[in-house]
Each structure stands twice: as structure tokens, then as C-alpha cells.
Symmetry: C2
Subunit: 334 residues, 2 copies
Amino acid sequence: MFKIRLLVTALTLAGSISVASAWETLPTEAPAPADNATTAAKVELGQMLYHDPRLSSTGTVSCASCHNTMLGGEDNRPNSMGVNGQTGGRSAPTVWNSAFNTVQFWDGRAASLEAQAAGPVTNPIEMGMKSWDDVVSRLKSIEGYHAPFEQAFGKDAISKDNATKAIAAYERTLITPNSPYDRYVSGDKSALSAQQVRGMEKVAELGCTHCHSGPAFNGPGMFQKFPVIPDGYWEAQHHFKKDKGLAEVSKNPADEHLWKVPTLRNIALTAPYFHNGSVKTLDQAVTLMAKLQLGKNLSKDEVADIVAFLNGLTGEFPKQKIPVLPGTPGSSLN
Amino acid sequence: MFKIRLLVTALTLAGSISVASAWETLPTEAPAPADNATTAAKVELGQMLYHDPRLSSTGTVSCASCHNTMLGGEDNRPNSMGVNGQTGGRSAPTVWNSAFNTVQFWDGRAASLEAQAAGPVTNPIEMGMKSWDDVVSRLKSIEGYHAPFEQAFGKDAISKDNATKAIAAYERTLITPNSPYDRYVSGDKSALSAQQVRGMEKVAELGCTHCHSGPAFNGPGMFQKFPVIPDGYWEAQHHFKKDKGLAEVSKNPADEHLWKVPTLRNIALTAPYFHNGSVKTLDQAVTLMAKLQLGKNLSKDEVADIVAFLNGLTGEFPKQKIPVLPGTPGSSLN
């Protein structure tokens, strides 16, 4: 068994020494809310809805288009491309292990996966549906959705509430366990290389795990400020402060530049980085995080060690069947 | 065993009586060309490439985006949406059973699935890659593609030729057998309703199967003229003749309005209809085909019977795994 190792973080906001984190493996099941127990029928329906482009106005964009379940759970683009080629200002977060986020979206404005799932569908630059009433009408018009909804939720169950519950139930199964890091922490000391172990120790020593803590490295706290340390040069390069984060929603100046702490799981697969996707490589992302959050200038070797460790956070992707979506028999979408 | 029933078509171009078709079940395997034998390694690689949006300039459009393997093999749109929201003038043909087409694309300009697969990738309004050299460079930069290409084709095998061969090998597995029609023809007389059998007989009697013949109902001949019978009213509605078909490629006036005979398999799932996707329902498609190709005005009941039969051509979709695509570790696509 793994002997829990408590980390003494080198840096806390108060400057004091505190016990901040332990190395934890990723759970293989995600907790579900009381009103949406995870069932096989909901997961199956949710997988269909998640991959169905008919949840967008043009019939071209599904949840999976930007949060790709065949890749790192996003699209490797700075900003995603929604209906009619439109792009926004933020980079798609990964869907893998999103069940372990306390809040959802970069600005944390959704308190649950259910609430998150409702958003992009009617966002004009994402999936572009005029209203959830339109989504429900379209789903009702697809005969083959009637039975899966009934199996998951009972009779006459096609609704916004149930569609988002099914999508969330499916997302709770999108967990990537057994990364080299997890195997190392579980006792297989050969699972990480010497360089990766150096990177792991450096991550703790620097204080990265003060915020990126817990099994998904996404923190005990919901929000953190980014960037913490003003830097004119890097701001001019990347415009990190152009987007005010949580304050864009709350309109509260105290929330300016507050962001959800993103998971580090599978981070090697989710370039480009940061809320606006402006940083192309993981090396540069590590360098900038140390500089702008912790005030540290890392050496090339230190960056290489940390990146090697972060590559050890790539987990095993569950084998899934390609869903067979019910057809729209005999009639056109548009 | 099924007793082969030969059809006497009521209408041929010569006006004479000829033996034009037999009711045939769909083969469960497709023949492969001599230089591209179907192997498990090629099919697996081809499935990955087929679903990989990184074969497009924006990283948002894969083969599957317009030829959706979760649905009827296309996108239920009049015209597909390529990179940056662009649309063209033709409707995406289904990928299911495309292995049984003698030629590919609406205008039949590709003689094989291999040749077809090369086209959309570098079409500026479809997948938008500048050149196949760029595609090959990108594939080479994705470390996780090296082993699958080697397994399928040997060492240092990432090339346009092998990528399109793999995609074609995968497409040859996209066959939908065991439709109600196939079961009926194989001896299960309960597989089609009385109405569907009436529709089946009507299809033969009218002469639809003169062109839509063979196991995939896509003809022994490669091309047919559409529309055959001039009709000002319907031309004004649907602009069928705006696109000159094969002549757009060959520049030969004799090829004007010649089109590949499309399969009727899974036709109930592939609305809207015709080369320009301008006809929204299967009822209307049947009505117009009778009128514009055969000079017949069908009654409502006849249309309903034929549509019922066409619904019996929806096959069983093979169970496939969602491919796990190799990541683009630590770097951004754009």
C-alpha cells in the first residue's frame, strides 16, 4: 500500500508553512448528486446526446466536437470553433475527469456538470440553438430518442432537465485512471522515471500543489487569481488580463482574474494552455506558471523535469462503443 | 434458401422488356483492390484517421464530421459544413456501403475509395489542408501515429498513399446487412409488412430498379442522367440543373447532368435528398424521381407504399469502438 506522504508547501499566500497536499490516486468512480444517481440507462443516453450534432443549430457541432472523447477531451485549439465557424475567447477545458471539478467552466459559473451541460447548447457562438424548447422539440421529433429517455427517466421524459442529467451522468464515467503517476503512488516505483520523480518533487517544493492539489490536481479551493504577479512583458505577449474571469459573470471587481483551478490530469494532451489558449507548449506553460504565480525563474532542467512529471499524469482512456444515434427518418435537419 | 426472383422491368430506355434485376441481399464483405488487401491493422489505422479532425486545417473537421458513422453515414444537411463554416453545393453521400459503389463522389470522378479519400482533405471548403505534404508532416509530428502506420504498412510508412489506403480499408468494413428487406429476401416473409411488399413490387413495376439495381440498389451502370424529363416548375423549385454533374469535371457537354446512381440502402436516414440536398423528405424524393425520371405521377398511396419499402432498407450498423486517437503531446495544433 501507498504510504501517504504529506507535503510541506514551500510557498503559501500567507508565507507560513502549512500542510497542503498528499499524493493521491484518481478515484475510479465519481460521486453523483442526490437527484441524479448514475445509472447505465442514463449513461447510455448521455453518451448519445453528448455525441449528437443535432443538438446544434447547424447539425454540425456536438459536445464532443470541442470536448473530443477520442483525444484529450478537448480540441487542441486556442479557442474552439462553434456553429458557422465562429470562435470565442476561451480554450475548451478537458471533459476527462471533469466530474472531479468542484465548479465548471473556466470562470466556474456552473456549480455542477448538469448546469454546465445546459450552457453551450444555446450559446450563439457555440452550438447556437435558439432555446432549450427548440432542443426539446427536435429531440422529440427523433422517434428513436423516445425509448432511451423512457428507459432512463420514465414516460414522457424528454426535457432540458433530463437531457442535461443524462449528459452529466455520462461525463461522470469519463475518468482516466492508472496513469504512470497513479501506479507510482500505488507502489510501483518503476512507473515513473528518475527525471519524473525529480519533477514531482519540484512541483511540491515550488508550491504548485498548493493550488493544484488532490487526486485531480485541481485544488481544494474553487478559484485562484491568475496572474498573481504583474508582468508587463508577458501580458503584452499573451493578454492574460483582457478576460476578467469570474468578474465577467459576477460583475464584482473583487472577482477580477479569478479562475477555476484546472486539473493537471492529461495536461500533456491538452495544448494550447491557459484560459485563452495563448501558450502553445507545456514547457512554456510551466515556465510562465512559475514566473507569474510563484515569482520563480525556473532553469531549463527544472522545466524539463516538471514537464516529464506532467507527462506521467496521462491516464488510461476507457474503451467505449461508438454510439449509434437514432436517425431523423425521412426528413432534413434544416 | 431464397429463390431468386427475376424482375421484368416495366420500363427501359429502349421501351422493350428486359431482365434488369434480381432481389439480392447485401454482401457482408466488400471486395478490396489487389494493391490494398483489407487487414485488421489497416482498418484500425483507417478508423483513427477517418475520425481525426487534425486532418483538417482548423482541427475541427474529420471525415466523420460530414460522413457520420454514428448516424446514416452523412450529416442530414443539404450541404455539408467544412472548415470555418464554409458550405459547398452538394449533399454528402453516405459512407455506409460506399464500398459497393463502382465510382465515388456524386459526379463519380473518383474510381476508388482510395482516390476519394484523398479529395476532401485538401479541398479548401471541406477540410482545407494546403497540401498532402502538410497532412503527412502533421501525421509524422504525432508520435502515436508512427506505430499504427508501421503495423499496417511497414517502416517509415506515413504517406498520402498509405493514409488513403487505410481510410479506404476501414470504409470497406462499413456495411449494414440484415435490413428487413434482406431478411425478407432471405426467406423471412414476416420481415416486411404487406405495405412494404406492395412498395417493393411497385418499385420494380415502375422501373426504379432499372437504375437502382443490385444488392446496394446503386446500379450496374455507373452514371445516369438526372433529370431525364424537363420540368420547368420543379426546376424553378430545386435548381437541379444548375450543377452539371460529371460535365463539371470532364468539360464534355455529353456528360451534362450525368450522376452516379446513389445507393438506396439506409435512404430513410439520409435526408435531405438529391445531389444538391434540396428535397427535404423521402415522400417528395420518391414523387419527384417518378415524375422526372419515369414520367409517372404517383398517387399518395403509391408514394406511401414505396417509402414504407425504402424504410425496410435500413440495415444493422456494426458495433464499433470509439478510437483513441494519439495525442499531440505538449504542443498546440495552431
